[in-house]
């Protein structure tokens, strides 16, 4: 390799020796090298630019050729799956209630499509189709039929009568494809549990039915899996009980002028949900569109209040505080607690409903009278750590494991920083927001003698008791208090003769999302019941959104006036359906001689 020196030393050195300025020699040298370098760069760039041009030319030609190949190939009817169309498994399993009664099934129907090139008389076909399906647009149909289209859908689902009518048009360009649709024969019944289904992939030979919400979505894989041999999915729901509950709740909601309502009936040993109602409701056969972004999701009929309605549930939580205090041995049901004012915690004054002063009350009486300060004092005795741990054991901090897909989104809201004040307010149900389903699981633990039970929508044959959260004694004491609330406390309207209802009312002010703080005149009123109180089998939660009972001189909104009577009516209606016998109370009738009926 011959190296060229950077400076033309051969000329510079003699020039320097002569005492001349060497700058001009260097500049000339640089200019010469520059010119040479640019020439080289230009030649290289020329060939590379040529390469680029050829590459672009080839690329464009490829696109053009490919376009030509596509354009000259035949348009095809849509094929949903690779290869055989039978790849769409058409049999979706039925869903039945606990007694095997159908909740969701499939219905053979047809889709209607057209191959306009095969139409003999497009104008007549269009006119007759519009006569059969008035919602079709004649102009648009005619345009499709007389254009160059080779395939077009007309209707995705038609009834057998409509199919016959289309058949009678007698045009060979009108074609039918078999198709299954999901049918909910009970209409709106259990709509929020079932959810709904729609079509996924579709072609002319079949369409895939996929679950979009509720159980249909949660168990979508199971329902579609042919391996189960079409065994139906058996839910824990009881259709009869569900129907009665919906009937009573919708009537009650109207009477109490509420804008929404929910109820849950749960078996306290198995965790089975026998009925779950959320109102307003919808028809899963004709599912309304999802709420738009700017609309409040909880206003939509699709909103499942039982698992998504996260609200402060008020005084219904007091029983948990009392049960824990007894469980820890801090108090017993007769221990006297001072509920008189003032009570200041963390700089806030704790008040009572209508600023009452109950004075000194026993633990049992403070539940019966629903004293905020009383439960608050119990919570302070329990302490923050133990209080938190107990509520966590009752599942109050996580979404419920309920197998309806929306339940995963029902995340309770609780304070990140849990202070003494948090414990006090949460002891009477403020500061912790949960769904009615959480509350049902909590009351089930009291009802079954102290075990946590996960609510489930699947039928179970044996008790599903979870870990113990309180002693049987504490649970027993709590049940006696709940019964006392009904016999002599705020929930006297909830009693059903013979069924020994026990329960606790809760009236919580609704938070004002726009302005912060709480509404003065909007409440969530809740009644949490268990029956029969001496040996509870079921827990019932009834909750009303913004109720107002207007028969008196002033509107009454408390749960004792609104939710409790509805719960009473519901228990009176469903308990016989569940096979519970009313216990006759002979002590009340000493003067009557019972004789044999002959």
């Amino acid at each position: 390799m011959i190296r060229t020196p950077l400076r033309p030393l051969a000329r510079i050195l003699p020039a320097r020796a002569r005492g001349e300025n060497t700058d001009s020699i260097e500049n000339e040298n640089i200019r010469a090298r520059h010119a040479e370098m640019q020439d080289r760069a230009r030649q290289r760039a020329e060939s590379r630019l040529l390469v680029m041009g050829v590459v672009f030319l080839c690329a464009y030609m490829t696109v053009g050729v490919r376009m030509g190949m596509l354009a000259t190939s035949d348009a095809s009817e849509p094929v949903a799956s690779v290869g055989a169309a039978t790849a769409i498994a058409n049999q979706r399993a039925d869903i039945v209630d606990r007694h095997g009664r159908i909740l969701a099934t499939n219905f053979e129907t047809h889709s209607l499509y057209s191959n306009p090139q095969l139409l003999i008389d497009p104008e007549r076909a269009a006119a007759e189709l519009v006569a059969i399906f008035p919602d079709l647009d004649h102009e648009q149909l005619l345009r499709k039929f007389t254009g160059k289209l080779k395939f077009t859908w007309i209707k995705k689902k038609i009834s057998p009568e409509q199919k016959q009518a289309v058949h009678d048009i007698g045009d060979p360009g009108l074609l039918f494809g078999p198709r299954e649709m999901r049918l909910y024969p009970n209409g709106t019944l259990a709509a929020h549990i079932l959810g709904g289904a729609s079509f996924g992939k579709e072609d002319v030979d079949a369409a895939e039915v996929i679950g979009v919400a509720g159980v249909e979505r949660q168990f979508d894989g199971y329902l579609r899996d042919p391996a189960h041999g079409n065994a139906p999915l058996t839910l824990s729901l009881d259709l009869t009980v569900q129907a009665a509950a919906e009937r009573v709740l919708s009537g009650g909601m109207r009477i109490m002028n509420a804008k929404g309502a929910a109820s849950i009936l749960m078996d306290v040993y198995t965790g089975e949900i026998l009925s779950a109602v959320s109102l307003p409701t919808f028809d899963p056969n004709n599912r309304p569109p999802a709420p738009k972004k700017n609309e409040e999701a909880s206003e939509s009929p699709l909103f499942n209040r039982t698992v998504l309605g996260v609200y402060e549930l008020g005084s219904t939580f007091k029983i948990f505080t009392a049960a824990q205090a007894i469980d820890l041995g801090l108090v017993n049901a007769e221990t006297i607690v001072d509920t008189s004012p003032p009570m200041r915690v963390g700089g806030r004054t704790i008040g009572e409903f209508r600023n009452k002063n109950y004075g000194k009350l026993s633990v049992s009486d403070l539940i019966v009278q629903s004293s905020n300060r009383g439960t608050g004092r119990l919570a302070l005795q329990i302490g923050v750590q133990r209080h938190k741990a107990f509520l966590e054991a009752l599942g109050m901090f996580d979404p419920t494991p309920f197998e309806v897909v929306e339940a995963q989104l029902g995340q309770p809201l609780y304070p990140k920083r849990w202070t003494d004040l948090s414990s006090v307010t949460i002891s009477y149900g403020h500061g912790l927001s949960t769904t009615p389903m959480h509350l049902a699981a909590g009351y089930a633990a009291i009802a079954n003698g102290g075990h946590y039970v996960s609510p489930t929508i699947l039928k179970k044959d044996t008790p599903q008791l979870g870990p113990r959260v309180m002693s049987p004694g504490a649970a027993h004491a709590a049940r006696r208090m709940l019964r006392a609330v009904v016999t002599s406390g705020t929930a006297s309207m909830a009693d059903v003769p013979g069924y020994a209802v026990g329960g606790k009312t809760g009236t919580a002010d609704k938070p004002d999302k726009l302005r912060g703080g709480y509404y003065e005149d909007k409440v969530i009123s809740t009644f949490a019941a268990l029956f029969p109180a001496h040996d509870p089998r079921y827990v019932l939660i009834v909750t009303l959104d913004e109720p107002s009972e207007n028969s008196g001189s002033q509107p009454r909104r408390t749960a004792g006036w609104t939710a409790a009577p509805i719960a009473s009516e519901m228990i009176g209606r469903v308990a016989p359906l569940l096979g519970l016998r009313p216990s006759v109370e002979p002590a009340r009738l000493p003067a009557i001689t019972l004789t044999a009926n002959n």
Partner: protein, 388 residues
């Protein structure tokens, strides 16, 4: 006399701007560009009424906007093409700095229009995507740096331009906007190639692109889904690609006829990313081939004219602009015919778009300014005895 004999460029320094522009500009390319714009309007009449209907606007609302923005874009293009390369360079550097600042401030003031990537500024009547304006500016700045690199005692422009390129690419990837990032990277790569990249490095770069692609495939679900959709042999008819493919088939050679197409009702992006499918369905293969030919002529002719260019800066900047323009069109059409994986990219000058149309207009105007016939020092060569 010498000029007459050797046919040098008939440019006279004190000639008025317009006549000088007219006999030095590449008239065929300008004609093709105007044709493309006309085709875009024609397709806008076909493709945008469904969108207008969805947004409750008069049917030709978007065509009117296209005419408005297109008019501005054409004027911008013509004005830019009248400038001298030096003026273009100066203005571009300024524009580049502005656009770069705008891009950097996107996370603060930008909006994502609910599409998951913060790429736009909302101005009320229109939205502006700074990366559209950044691209031509970047090409010029990078070309300037690379040209400076070829000076003896010049700055290390190549390294600078590479660092700049990487900064911009990483900013775009963070948005995320992989499409624009690829375009910028491609533009820089082409310029580097023409500026004399060593062959070994080119091979290494190709390997790097493959590596980066597979990394993106492994880590970005968005990206992976698109690639999977592309690699699967059968096209799912309910996807955008499925509709596009079917539309091209329905169209055949001569199309189903004006206004008869169906694909525009099914595809949300019929007026932008899949406008070629609308063209294929309504006007058939004929119009599509014409569109391809128009793009081909603009790009290839520009590249061929740049071969004669001696100024390294003009050569590089022109190459970058022409290739970016060409490759964007090619990717858009390649996606529609499933030669390339789905990537949202507009068809320059044809797709509907406000600010992007103007940005494309400016970029093409710059390209035309660079491809104008100029004296290339042939006489000086001859005089110095270095003629070829």
């Amino acid at each position: 006399m010498t000029e007459m004999v050797y046919g040098a460029a008939p440019a006279r320094d004190n000639e008025p701007i317009l006549p000088k522009w007219w006999h030095t500009i590449d008239k065929l390319s300008v004609f093709c560009l105007l044709m493309l714009f006309a085709v875009g309007l024609l397709l806008g009449f076909a493709a945008s009424p469904p969108l207008a209907e969805r947004n409750n606007l008069p049917p030709f609302h978007y065509v009117q906007r296209q005419v408005l923005f297109g008019g501005v874009a054409l004027i911008a293009m013509l004005l830019t093409s009248m400038m001298s390369p030096v003026l273009v360079r100066r203005l571009s550097v300024l524009g580049f700095l502005l656009a770069f600042a705008a891009l950097a401030l996107l996370p603060v003031f930008g909006t994502d229009f609910g599409k998951g990537a913060v790429r736009w500024y909302s101005l009320g009547f229109a939205s502006v995507q700074p990366s559209e304006f950044l691209k031509p500016g970047f090409v010029v700045v990078a070309a300037w740096m690379m040209a400076a690199n070829q000076q003896i005692h010049g700055p290390p422009g190549m390294a600078w331009s590479f660092a700049l390129c990487m900064t911009i690419v990483s900013m775009l990837v963070l948005q995320p906007d992989f499409g624009q990032a690829c375009l910028v990277l491609f533009g820089w790569g082409v310029m580097y190639f023409v500026a004399g990249a060593p062959i070994t490095l080119l091979v290494g770069m190709a390997a790097l692109v493959v590596l980066g692609g597979s990394l993106a495939y492994a880590n970005s679900e968005h990206f992976a889904r698109r690639i999977d959709g592309f690699l699967s042999p059968e096209v799912d008819p309910t996807t955008q690609l499925g509709y596009a493919t079917n539309a091209i088939r329905e169209g055949g050679v001569f199309g189903v006829g004006v206004g008869e197409g169906q694909v525009k009702w099914a595809l949300p992006d019929a007026h932008t990313d899949f406008i070629i499918a609308v063209a294929a369905e309504e006007y058939g293969l004929v119009l599509v081939l014409v569109i391809i030919a128009l793009y081909g002529v603009v790009v290839v002719r520009s590249l061929l004219r740049l071969i004669r260019e001696r100024d390294p800066f003009v050569r590089l900047a022109g190459t970058g602009l022409a290739c970016m323009f060409g490759v964007q069109a090619m990717i858009n059409m390649g996606v529609a015919v499933r030669l390339l994986p789905a990537k949202g990219m507009t068809l320059p000058f044809v797709s509907y778009g406000g600010s992007s149309l103007i940005a494309t207009g400016i970029a093409v105007g710059m390209l035309f300014a660079f491809t104008r016939t100029r004296p290339q020092g042939e006489i000086a060569d001859l005089l110095r005895g270095r003629g070829r």
